[in-house]
């Protein structure tokens, strides 16, 4: 019985007897490749997303297993992209799971020659102190006799790669602290 099964699995026989007469598909599939599964098939969940690169806004599907993103593919349902992704969009998995990605705070002290470690809580406290002090030391109530209520010592660049909600909080906080030199890629 086993011998007969093996014989019927002989690629030449499969090619001669099956529908794949040119030997480019099923006829030449090995047992190993037969058992292969796409990473997407074993995912615990699939999450709807959008490509983070350009502004076309192609739909992405994130395949998650064991709390890790294991594959990112185009979303066929998207009327924008119909499942397609460009080279950058197709490489998104490497963007988010890149071993070179820096995941720890880095700190360079004034005049320092190397990066240093710093824990996130300390960094946040230090940044908060810097912002409060710089703002207070460089506050401007008036310019040329006109009320300005601002600081010209704190500036920011960025936002075009961020979410709308992030831009909203940025502008709201900067405006409340009196910073006006807030810019992003739209002017560059």
């Amino acid at each position: 019985m086993a011998a007969r099964a093996n014989l019927s699995n002989w690629p030449v026989l499969r090619q001669a007897s099956g529908s794949d007469r040119l030997g480019r598909g099923a006829a030449v599939k090995s047992g190993v490749s037969e058992r292969l599964q796409p990473r997407t098939a074993t995912a615990d969940k699939v999450v709807d997303s959008v490509c983070p690169y350009c502004a076309v806004g192609c739909g992405q599907k994130l395949y998650v297993k064991d709390d890790k993103v294991v594959q990112i593919e185009g979303d066929p349902a998207s009327p924008v992209s119909r499942g397609r992704l460009c080279p950058k969009g197709s490489a998104t998995l490497q963007l988010v799971s890149n071993p070179s990605r820096v995941t720890k705070v880095r700190y360079r002290r004034p005049h320092g020659t190397e990066w240093e470690d710093l824990d996130l809580e300390t960094a946040m406290e230090m940044i908060t102190d810097r912002v409060i002090k710089t703002r207070r030391d460089n506050w401007e109530w008036e310019k040329d006799g006109k009320r300005t209520r601002r600081t010209m010592a704190i500036a920011s660049l960025g936002g075009a790669t961020l979410d709308n909600e992030e831009n909203y909080l940025m502008k709201k906080l900067y405006t409340a602290m009196g910073a006006v030199q807030i810019e992003n890629q739209a002017r560059i």
Binding site: C54, A55, V69, I127
Partner: protein
């Protein structure tokens, strides 16, 4: 488009499969050219000469869509007698002051408008008005005497760009001649202005043959009209010029003449390069705007809420309700603290006093006034023009916060900037304290992107961010909480805006991140009962509504995240209205009332989109009508009507005070009412079309680090232009560290023609050094016929193509093209250019201090050549 937005390009290919003719105008032959029916190589920086000649072709042969033009544009409006065209003044318009380099636009006004724009009008000449660089309207009276001064302030304050949604105000309706024969009607003025934009001139200026120009003109005009539409797409390369705004204006004039606006298959599509760059303009991280294109107040003119909204109070169209939008925003920021008695905390807003955009900010860093800097997903050391100025600015800060995925060049400049190698900077001397905070990726946070067609799409969080990585939402929320905690109890007036701020969002997850949906709901706005609003028409100026961005009102209608809708495209109409949500009001094509004729009927069955249903008494169609839904086509607004009530039934451009598309801009632009060809600040030739060499109103940045190559210098005989590659992303922060992408485009290169390679002895695969007066960079050589030698007048001209993605960090490294690009700004929006002149030499550039000496020798040679009359052509004008 096939290079920069390949997936979007599939729709161009669909159109082609249905018979569309595809024309590609680009200095280089690219993947787009390979698919195009016609590739038109053009000299970089001459777009207005080319597009202006198409305008001339349309007018000369009366190929305009006459019924559309008369009804929907300002072609019939009559301009005042004071206006003088470039034809009469050697290439400048009336109102130019050579001492200040700025225009007073009062002479560009319509007849009968005695003053430029009235107080009480949303006029760009009044800082604080959401005026537009896009379109203009009939006359508003301005406080005339100081109109020029305030107008300059307006442009400095970026006011003329605040028209992401509508144009500046003009008041009274101008006289019209619908036969278009009056010598001072816009149509005739346009015709005279563009008469010199002939096919011969296109050949001489752009290097495009007359035969090819004729082919393009024929295809374009044959595919425009009641039954057909043509579209323009640009991957923002049009904007990066000293005439950036006017490049787009020329296309807008052409599309309005051909009747290609507000109709399916028409329009002008800006294909933008960052996932939410549209969103970051709508909900701006920009100095001159508040959310929804409400301007930032200006110190000189906006001392209180009344004066702030006065510019709009009397205007017609939807901007007439500006007070509703502004008060609702203030309520959204300051909640219960904002009351009618305290002007809704208007005074909490910081004021502008001029141009505070990114390049002046960098100069402020170098001069020492800007001390702290946040970089959030942005890498100016590589991505901004004149990289040396950027890095000198970074090196002179007190502190710098960088939020990104990797250690980008803007984070590591203190140890490896090119200026360290040359000795211009020394690590130990740089006092900048640098905090690098790793950012969460889009897979690690929820939120919305607004794509290039104004559509919001929600992405859902899939996993927690690793290590110290946090979303920017969480970072800013946390920073705000810490500042407020630190300042709690302060009685200092300067801390009130922070302490009164509404800053309380639900938190969740292991890091207590704020809820992005709660923020989106605040952006959408809530009514008196606290329920989510569904339309900006519900907003009130009495403090009963709060709305974080009026044009986004409706994205959370019915307490539902409309941006997260994902009904498959296959299961709905071709407009796909149930996928995501487009502002405003989920409209997919703006100004779509123009898709119907003045009587409200589709121009043709083939191009039917939105039309008037007389039986039901409302507008209907495939999209959400961009019009007052029950306003019949024959509606005539009563005398003195304001706001939306003043929109006539035949005025499709509802954000404009006159409801018309502007062929001629009587107000709103810093550099002329009609686009005019000027040479780029650095050009190998003098201007063939006018005495005036450059845009007279351009904004030069005069710094020792920013010298310009002399016009026509034999030392810098070539033109270079920067561009993007499919496989990399702008300044490389999101692409140069990815193995796949680094492998696909492994090295910085320059594209040159075989003729240039022969002239300079360049070898394919070898090295070349590209030199300007700023600096020199090196690149691998790609010799290819994709870069065409152009005949410009009696000489052959070579262009060099330079991708701008590289820097010193990542898996693939190389010199930065932006180190070569000079800083000269467009006067309307303060954007820099991308074109310059250069020399190219075989081999690698010198390293260390030798590089400075090398560039210095070029500067000396250029100065000597400029002093010698022969061999140079033209001069700086």
């Amino acid at each position: 488009m096939a290079e920069c937005h390949p997936v979007g390009f599939q729709w161009v290919m669909e159109a082609k499969a249905r018979g569309a003719t595809l024309i590609h105008v680009d200095p280089r032959f690219t993947r787009t050219s390979a698919m195009a029916d016609i590739h038109v190589p053009i000299r970089a920086g001459t777009d207005i000469a080319f597009l202006g000649a198409l305008v001339n072709h349309v007018l000369l042969n009366e190929l305009d869509f006459r019924e559309y033009v008369v009804a929907y544009t300002n072609a019939a409006s009559i301009v005042g007698e004071d206006f003088k065209d470039t034809e009469e003044l050697g290439g400048v318009f009336s109102g130019f002051d050579p001492d200040t380099g700025k225009y007073d636009s009062s002479s560009w006004q319509y007849e009968g408008v005695t003053e430029a724009a009235a107080a009480g009008q949303r006029d760009p000449s009044l800082p604080g008005t959401p005026g537009s660089d896009e379109d203009l309207e009939s006359g508003a009276a301005e406080s005339g005497s100081d109109s020029a001064g305030s107008e300059h302030e307006a442009h400095e304050a970026g006011r003329s760009e605040t028209a992401g949604s509508g144009g500046p105000t003009v008041g009274s309706k101008p006289p019209r001649d619908e036969t278009l024969q009056h010598p001072r009607c816009v149509y005739q003025i346009l015709k005279r202005h563009y008469a010199r934009y002939t096919p011969e001139m296109v050949e001489r200026v752009c290097g495009i043959s007359q035969a090819q120009f004729a082919q393009v003109a024929d295809v374009l005009t044959r595919n425009s009209g009641p039954d057909r539409t043509a579209a323009f797409c640009y991957a923002v390369g049009w904007t990066q010029h000293s005439v950036g705004v006017q490049n787009i204006r020329t296309a807008a004039i052409l599309q309005a003449l051909l009747g290609n606006m507000g109709r399916p298959g028409g329009g002008i599509m800006a294909l933008r390069g960052h996932a939410s760059i549209q969103g970051s303009t709508d909900i701006p991280t920009l100095y001159n705007l508040l959310p929804g294109y409400i301007p930032m107040p200006h110190a000189a003119h906006h001392e209180d809420l009344d004066s702030f909204v006065a510019a709009d109070a009397g205007s017609t169209g939807y901007w007439g309700n500006m007070r509703d939008y502004a008060v609702s925003l203030l309520k959204s920021y300051w909640g219960d603290a904002a009351t009618a008695d305290n002007d809704f905390c208007f005074d909490y807003l910081p004021r502008l006093t001029g141009d505070h955009s990114t390049y002046p900010t960098v100069l402020g860093q170098i001069e020492g006034s800007v001390k702290g800097y946040f970089l959030v997903g942005e890498n100016p050391a590589v991505g901004s023009s004149n990289g040396k100025l950027q890095r000198l600015g970074l090196a002179n800060l007190d502190w710098l916060v960088v939020r990104d995925f990797n250690l980008i060049e803007s984070a590591t400049f203190w140890k490896d900037a090119p200026e360290i190698a040359t000795g211009e900077l020394v690590t130990e001397d740089i006092g900048t304290e640098v905090f690098f905070l790793p950012a969460a990726a889009h897979t690690e946070k929820s939120g919305s992107f607004t794509n290039t067609q104004r559509m919001l799409q929600w992405h859902h969080k899939a996993v927690e961010p690793p290590g110290d990585c946090r979303s920017d939402l969480e970072f800013y929320y946390d920073l705000g909480k810490r500042m407020r905690a630190s300042l709690a109890g302060s009685t200092d007036e300067l801390d009130r805006p922070l302490l009164d701020l509404t800053w309380d969002y639900p938190e969740h997850g292991p890091t207590d991140e704020p809820s992005a949906e709660a923020v989106l709901r605040e952006i959408n706005g809530v009514g008196p009962d606290g329920a989510a609003l569904s339309s900006y028409t519900e907003l009130k100026d009495d403090g009963s509504t709060a709305c974080g961005c009026w044009i986004y009102c409706g994205v959370y209608a019915d307490e539902t995240n409309q941006a997260a809708r994902r009904k498959p495209g296959q299961e709905q109409s071709w407009v796909a209205p149930e996928w995501g949500w487009a502002w405003p009001a989920n409209r997919r094509i703006l100004y779509n009332r123009a898709s119907a004729d003045p009587d409200g009927k589709p121009w043709s069955e083939r191009k039917a989109y939105v039309w008037w249903d007389a039986e039901q008494g409302k507008w209907t169609g495939h999209d959400v009508p961009d019009f007052v839904v029950d306003r019949p086509p024959d509606y005539e607004p009563p005398e003195g009507a304001t706001g939306p009530d003043a929109i006539g039934g035949r005025d499709p451009f509802v954000m404009q005070t006159d409801g018309k598309a502007w062929l001629f801009a009587p107000v709103g632009l810093a550099d002329g009412p009609m686009p005019t060809h000027y040479e780029p600040p650095e050009s190998p030739v003098s201007n063939s079309m006018y005495e005036q060499q450059n845009n007279p109103a351009r904004e030069p940045i005069e710094r020792p680090e920013n010298p310009l190559n002399p016009t026509g210098s034999p030392v810098f005989p070539y033109v270079f232009t920067s561009y993007r590659l499919t496989e990399h992303h702008t300044a490389g922060g999101m692409s140069r560290s990815l193995p796949y992408l680094a492998e696909l485009q492994p090295e910085m290169f320059c594209e040159v023609s075989p003729r240039l390679a022969q002239q300079r002895g360049l070898i394919n695969g070898g090295w070349a050094t590209i030199v300007t007066e700023r600096t020199a960079i090196e690149a691998r050589v790609l010799v290819t016929e994709r870069v065409r030698s152009l005949r410009i007048g009696d000489r052959m001209l070579e262009q060099v193509g330079l991708p701008y993605h590289w820097g010193g960090n990542g898996l693939t490294t190389g010199d930065s093209t932006n180190d070569l690009v000079n800083l000269t700004l467009d006067p309307n929006v303060h954007i820099q250019g991308k074109v310059g002149t250069c020399d190219v030499q075989p081999g690698r550039r010198p390293v260390g201090p030798a590089l400075i000496a090398y560039v210095e020798r070029y500067r000396q040679r250029a100065a000597e050549a400029a002093a010698t009359p022969s061999g140079t052509e033209g001069s700086h004008a």
